[in-house]
């Protein structure tokens, strides 16, 4: 039973929570403000910044200088592509683990997760060499495959936890109703798991979008996504605050907006399906 809470207590909670929330959000808020200021105004004191005139010039400069749209599309292709490739491989695997568990299921799952603990840097050079040999360096295809592989364990794990919530009897009913394995997965399991799959997709798109080791080290000009685009602002010229802010806002805005619009699925996804 919900209890009545005094208005005073609720007010205190509200003030505290909003205070903490705004502190955490502040860096993002501040770069948003700076990105609409001129370069000269952006380095003044905060009060002066707020009162300075608003302008879009930084955004124009950033797009002109580093072709934002190209990197944006690279990010979209890499993150969405790798996530869907991952789903293709992970759905059958998660079905097996959730509905035909064996003594080794837990071990295999843990092993898969442990491959994520392998330090990427330890195998950077071999991968680099292989990529050169196969002509995959600085290609979207190569990077899509790598991102798919590094996120595969998480996709499998999340789907596994979601699938386990689906009662096995329903799949058995499908089998009794004459459905083969393909029909069982396509017509019964997948539609029932849509919320879980949506959460998985969202989280993995975000993880891939933000991945900043392989994308920095395996791309040059052609396939570079936004992580690499923004890294080019780490050179001293990045100290142009307004442009750096504009570029940052442009790099994170798509995901922020996607995240906010799909909050419900995302919150579920953010817990990696491990907590109910």
């Amino acid at each position: 039973m919900a209890r009545m809470v005094s208005t005073r207590r609720k007010t205190i909670n509200t003030v505290l929570a909003w205070g903490v929330g705004l502190i955490i959000f502040f860096p993002i808020l501040w770069i948003t403000v700076l990105s609409f200021k001129s370069e000269g105004d952006a380095i003044r004191t905060p009060i002066e910044v707020l009162t300075a005139p608003w302008t879009l010039e930084s955004y124009a400069t950033v797009q002109e200088r580093s072709n934002y749209l190209k990197h944006f599309w690279n990010s979209v292709i890499l993150s969405v592509g790798s996530t869907f490739l991952g789903l293709l491989v992970a759905v059958p695997a998660a079905w097996s683990m959730a509905f035909v568990p064996s003594k080794r299921t837990k071990d295999i799952l843990m092993w898969m997760l442990s491959t994520k603990m392998l330090p990427a840097v330890g195998v950077l050079y071999p991968i680099y060499l292989l990529f050169i040999r196969m002509g995959l360096l600085d290609s979207r295809l190569g990077l899509t495959i790598v991102l798919m592989l590094i996120n595969l364990p998480i996709i499998v794990w999340m789907l596994y936890t979601y699938f386990r919530e689906i009662p096995g009897e329903i799949l058995e009913a499908a089998r009794m109703d004459g459905a083969g394995l393909r029909e069982e997965i396509l017509y019964v399991l997948t539609p029932m798991a849509v919320p879980g799959i949506a959460s998985t997709v969202l989280l993995n798109v975000i993880l891939a979008w933000n991945e900043a080791f392989w994308t920095l080290n395996l791309t040059a000009a052609t396939a570079a996504p936004l992580t690499a685009f923004i890294a080019s602002y780490s050179s001293p010229e990045g100290l142009f605050y307004a442009k750096l802010s504009a570029a940052s806002v442009m790099a994170i805005a798509p995901i922020l907006i996607l995240g906010w619009f799909s909050q419900k699925q995302l919150v579920r996804g953010l817990t990696f399906g491990a907590v109910k």
């Binding site: 609720k10 909670n13 929570a17 501040w30 919150v267």
Partner: protein, 288 residues
């Protein structure tokens, strides 16, 4: 609940994932092992032959090795401690009734969407820069000497940046777990005369056990391989060189692949030690 048919189907359907991950793990691993026993300088003569354990010996003897292990572990433990403690407090706060809960939640989640390169750049320049950064302005406004965070308190600054990135994750998981706590249990404890602190200690905290495990597991996986934050902020200077970063420097900056590969093998061993340790705890806790 299975038949021979479904078991063989299961093996077949698991195969692609297992084969892909096995390949992804083994092929580079074997290559790394191979390089680690060779003197291999791509820009200065290429593969110069077999050197036995020389690379391993010189990597571990280098003055940078042990500090880098220490930095790595400090970073992981520091971030875990901050995100868990602050995360629990924040989750408790967000679980209270208030106005605009949805919006506060959005504000708190936001850092998770920020890519590491951006958050590192923003913190380094726009927040922490002693001359023009926001914190510098703030320090001056109250009459203090601005701090050059990333050189004077480098480790703390990096832990702060990384904690900022991971706090949303910890908070959300803990909040979700809190919301699943049966309120009747709380009321029963209240009837039994347990005060707020006792209720937190005996009911809330044990209930959060599984969530805390998940936070530790997932964050450790990601924290062990932190790269962009250091790459962008200090470049490994001021005592912030993690093992990952040290190896990166050996391979790409000094182009000594043999030495770097030996370092890679050490990093893999370290990761495995941590992994075994983690799996022990987590495996038990996740069985529920």
């Amino acid at each position: 609940m299975a038949t021979r048919h479904s078991r063989s189907a299961a093996r077949l359907m698991m195969a692609p994932a297992v084969v892909l991950l096995l390949g992804w793990m083994l092929v580079p691993l074997v290559m790394t092992l191979w390089f680690s026993f060779r003197k291999y300088l791509p820009l200065r003569g290429g593969d110069l032959g077999w050197v036995g354990f020389d690379n391993y010996a010189s990597f571990i003897r280098s003055s940078a090795f042990w500090p880098s292990v220490q930095v790595t572990l400090t970073l992981v433990v520091g971030v875990l401690a901050i995100t868990l403690v602050v995360g629990v407090l924040l989750a408790l706060l967000l679980d209270q009734p208030m106005w605009g809960q949805g919006i506060v939640r959005i504000l708190v989640i936001a850092p998770f969407f920020v890519m590491p390169t951006v958050s590192a750049l923003v913190w380094k320049n726009i927040m922490m820069d002693p001359n023009n950064g926001f914190l510098g302005h703030l320090w001056r406004a109250v009459g203090l000497q601005p701090i050059d965070w990333l050189s004077q308190a480098s480790m703390g600054s990096i832990i702060l940046i990384v904690s900022w990135e991971w706090l949303p994750f910890a908070t959300l998981i803990l909040l979700t777990a809190l919301q699943s706590l049966d309120s009747e249990q709380m009321e029963a404890a209240e009837m039994d005369g347990a005060g707020p602190l006792a209720r937190f200690g005996f009911i809330t905290l044990p209930h959060l056990g599984r969530a805390i495990t998940v936070v530790i597991l997932i964050q450790t996986i990601f924290l062990l391989s932190i790269f962009a934050e250091i790459f962008v902020t200090t470049g490994g200077a001021f005592g912030t060189r993690t093992l990952t970063y040290l190896i990166y420097q050996r391979v790409l900056e000094s182009q000594n692949v043999g030495l770097g590969s030996a370092g890679g093998v050490y990093a893999i061993i370290l990761a495995n030690i941590v992994a075994i340790f983690l799996m022990r705890i987590v495996g038990k806790n996740l069985d529920a």
